[in-house]
Symmetry: C2
Subunit: 200 residues, 2 copies
């Protein structure tokens, strides 16, 4: 589009990498920032650069972290006896926001999907098995998504728990089948979390 | 919110400076960028920084520009005899996208609003008067918004044109194309009725 400014055009293009942002809203955002919010735009630039460059994964739970061990793993006030296994860091954030869970997490960064080359190693399952072998964990809550691949992953992860003699539980039904955890409303997610059931 | 990463939390906060982006979508955007779009995120960081720092205003038309004269003013292929006066650079972009206009622009960067300290000087009207005095312009299209302040601004700007002996025109008001009469506001309908035109 013609705006008279190359940098403005480039900003409008670049904003389209944000999910849900089309041509029209990218344009609205760029003008808003230039006209009324340059400070905020600069703060966003610097937050983006730091996060894109420096956020890696926690060596203990694979959650997003800019330090070797994330602040959830490092917290002395969380319950070391319960480990919640999730597919993604956004699922972790959704559980933190919706429930009163105060235990630890393990983030798979995906779900078993042989066709996409995602097997046990890619999901960090050797690291998870090692963790289960440390002897502190008494319950593993499996909070993978209720999709076919999520269920297969839950089954596989449940076997690791059984091998380690650890009770495995699964989120209760109530999470809509075929849905993604991060888009489930808080009430439903909190209920499902509270009614988790033993894997038989 | 708890994510385990300070930088991720700061990114989520910073994204909220974008118009129409609340807590939930900021979170979704941040996770999307970290999980799937780090390249795009870095490109956005750099586009934002360049635009926020380097985009100023064209010395000739006050449109956004990182060069002293914007590319629209510098273009040799645009018609120097028609000047379209708009309130903002986003109005300029809307006209560029919607119409086949190939003349020049002048951007007021606001509208007359004495209570907000916006008078003729703040709107660059001395610069506009100087421009009108150059003798190249034959028609000035006044495309301020149809609000009370926009109309007052149009009236004032029209007087500058008259003083310079230049024909001034105003965007037509009326029923929007594709609109239903029963849903058009009374003021617009009354105006459209009063300004009815002969069928040719
Ligand atoms: Zn961690
Ligand atoms: Zn210009």
């Amino acid at each position: 589009m013609t705006t008279g400014s190359r940098l403005l055009g480039e900003l409008i293009d670049a904003l389209r990498c944000l999910p849900g942002v089309g041509a029209k809203s990218a344009q609205r955002m760029a003008f808003h920032l230039l006209e009324r919010e340059r400070e905020g735009g600069l703060r966003l630039a610097s937050a983006l650069e730091s996060a894109m460059r420096d956020v890696g994964n926690c060596t203990r739970c694979r959650n997003f972290s800019e330090t070797p061990v994330c602040s959830l793993c490092a917290s002395p006030s969380r319950d070391k006896q319960v480990l919640c296994v999730v597919e993604s860091a956004s699922d972790l954030a959704a559980i933190e926001q919706a429930t009163g869970f105060r235990g630890h997490y393990f983030v798979l960064l995906g779900r078993l999907s042989p066709l996409d080359g995602l097997g046990p190693d890619e999901l960090g399952l050797p690291l998870l098995a090692e963790r289960l072998g440390e002897g502190e964990i008494e319950e593993m809550i499996i909070a993978t998504n209720p999709t076919v691949e999520g269920e297969a992953t839950a089954h596989y992860v449940g076997q690791l728990a059984r091998a380690a003699g650890i009770r495995a539980t699964r989120l209760a039904h109530g999470v809509p089948l075929g849905g993604e955890l991060e888009f489930v409303d808080r009430g439903t997610l909190a209920h499902a979390f509270g009614s988790r059931q033993s894997l038989s």
